[in-house]
């Protein structure tokens, strides 16, 4: 009886998993086909013959390689910067006493309700006013501060048993050494989780780069995908799918390898 139930469950799971994976599997299959093969009826569910050409086209002709570099640079920059700023802010909020401390915390926390999307028009004005249009600065600086990160580090710090920290204090450690030699090693999990989430988030950005970057050499990969549709000739779906596969790889690989950290960071960031 239990065996049948298990079998049924397995079957259901396999079906569901296949349905979920189907779109990407289709994308992979078609990314290797020539236009003639793609347009053939009935469609060919086998690997085609144009894999190298399609992927090479997507990479070179449509500059996905360059766009990926841009995405990578800003993702790394934001992830690093955001983590540092969140860490230092939480450090100040937890381990220092100063007037208006709780107000500062609320000030930071309120920004949780301000996603970039609700202010794109005036953010565009501000950023172009600074002359940052078409630059990495526009894609990096507005995202360096994070209420989520600050909150996470703060919660984490508050949970560290004070006995450990008292010992360090007695040692006579100043705040910087304290942060560096004690807090930092103890926060590696949070840092890993935050890093993964932030990297994927920046990698996947679409609306903001669409608005603020018009110089194609500075464009990010998600918007770059959109450009694969351009031109006089018919859309070559093989190349478009190749582009899609190339573009999703880093995000997917990050997720698969760092799945633990991803889930943790995810869970942490949602339970604010």
């Amino acid at each position: 009886m239990r065996k049948t139930k298990h079998l049924f469950t397995h079957l259901a799971l396999v079906i569901v998993v296949s349905v979920v994976a189907a779109p990407v599997i289709m994308a992979i299959l078609f990314s290797t086909q020539t236009p003639a093969q793609i347009y053939s009826y009935p469609p060919k569910f086998t690997f085609g013959t144009a894999m190298l050409e399609n992927y090479a086209s997507a990479w070179n002709q449509f500059h996905l390689g360059k766009y990926m570099l841009n995405s990578f640079i800003i993702a790394v920059a934001v992830t690093t910067g955001k983590t540092i700023l969140a860490f230092t802010s939480a450090l100040a909020l937890v381990y220092f006493r100063f007037p208006l401390r709780s107000w500062v915390f609320i000030f930071i926390l309120l920004t949780l309700m301000m996603p970039t999307e609700i202010m794109i028009v005036s953010l565009f004005e501000i950023v172009t006013g600074l002359g940052w249009g078409d630059s990495y600065a526009a894609l990096i600086v507005p995202f360096l501060a994070s209420a989520t990160g600050t909150f996470l580090f703060r919660q984490h710090f508050l949970q560290i048993p004070s006995s450990l920290l008292d010992a360090a204090r007695i040692d006579g450690a100043g705040p910087i050494r304290f942060a560096w030699s004690i807090l930092l090693p103890m926060s590696s999990n949070v840092i890993a989780a935050l890093t993964v989430i932030q990297f994927v988030y920046m990698w996947n950005q679409y609306l903001w780069p669409l608005i603020v970057i018009h110089d194609s050499s500075m464009q990010v990969v998600q918007v770059g995908l959109r450009m694969v549709f351009g031109g006089q000739d018919a859309t070559n779906w093989g190349i478009v799918m190749a582009g899609a596969i190339i573009t999703l790889m880093p995000a997917l690989v990050t997720f698969m390898l760092l799945q633990e950290q991803f889930s943790r960071g995810f869970a942490l960031s949602q339970e604010k």
Binding site: T9, V17, M113, I120, V121, A145, N204, L210, Q222
Partner: protein, 293 residues
């Protein structure tokens, strides 16, 4: 008692970068958006005319914006309910104690990590009337080949399906965690009492999951307002006949294609207030959850 440093200067320096960025790139634009919504701003910002609440009047009374509201509502309701229902179903499945459960879990969740643009492009291809696989199968099995992108309702369906596909993993993660935290004794007692799996689920499990359900409801809704932009921009461009234009797309179009910044700002304010209400709700509910536990 946390060890406490009293050097205000250092604290200030540590907080300064964060505060500067939050002020200039979050608070300032938000305030400016509110102000801008009261003006009609001309092309390139070369002219500015105070119009009071006229922009708000437009978005709440004009037929095109009524349509946009309806579209947004339809999209949010459709994608959120489907995404959560499927998320719950998959989580229940993946919660079964079968071998390889960990791998199944992974294979259910991963589309969430996909960039929306990629998901959008793939679905655009799959639902294409000329080369789409979907129509091939539909034609084969049911003999119908709907013109997905030419009909407003079908196009909305495509947008909803692609959103659900990408986001269901999010709900699976959370429902799984909640399922695994359920008190086992209540369910055992019910089994002993002779309740069927179906009854156990609806009478016990589901009610016990309600805090998580409310939480996910709010998170999914907030995401549904914003994350769908890439899908619409790539698959339907708001069409056909404005049938898939939702607020976030209208904001982009009014602001950057029609150059009507004031109107875009008013819509942004509207969305912002929605987000605030939902976030406050979320905090209230979370407090309740913590006390309940």
């Amino acid at each position: 008692m946390q060890p406490v440093f009293k050097r205000h200067g250092t604290a200030f320096l540590l907080l300064l970068p964060t505060l500067v960025i939050l002020i200039f790139f979050l608070y300032l634009p938000t305030i400016q958006t509110f102000i801008m919504s009261l003006y009609q701003v001309g092309f390139l910002g070369l002219s500015k005319m105070f119009v009071g609440v006229e922009n708000y009047q437009i978005i709440f009374t004009e037929p095109e914006y009524r349509d946009i509201m309806v579209n947004t509502l339809v999209f949010v309701l459709g994608s959120v309910s489907l995404s959560m229902a499927l998320g719950l179903a998959f989580a229940v499945l993946a919660n079964e104690k079968v071998t390889g459960a960990r791998y199944y879990r992974l294979l259910l969740i991963w589309p969430y990590a996909l960039p929306p643009a990629v998901a959008g492009v793939i679905f655009l291809f799959l639902f294409s009337a000329q080369v789409g696989i979907i129509n091939y199968f539909l034609g084969l099995i049911f003999g119908i080949t709907p013109d997905w992108l030419a009909d407003p309702e079908l196009a909305m369906t495509v947008v909803i399906l692609s959103t659900v596909w990408k986001n269901v993993g999010y709900n699976v993660v959370f429902y799984l965690a909640a399922l695994q935290n359920l008190p086992g004794d209540v369910l055992e007692a019910a089994t002993i009492d002779g309740a069927t799996g179906w009854q156990r689920f609806w009478r016990i499990t589901f009610p016990l999951l309600s805090p998580m359900t409310f939480f996910l409801l709010i998170m999914n809704t907030i995401a549904a307002f914003f994350d769908v932009f890439a899908f619409i921009d790539l698959i339907t461009k708001g069409g056909p006949s404005n049938g898939t234009t939702v607020f976030i797309y209208a904001i982009y179009r009014d602001g950057f294609e029609y150059f009507k910044s004031g109107l875009a700002a008013a819509q942004s304010v509207f969305l912002f207030l929605l987000v605030v209400v939902l976030t406050v709700l979320k905090f209230r509910l979370q407090k309740k959850v913590h006390y309940a536990n």
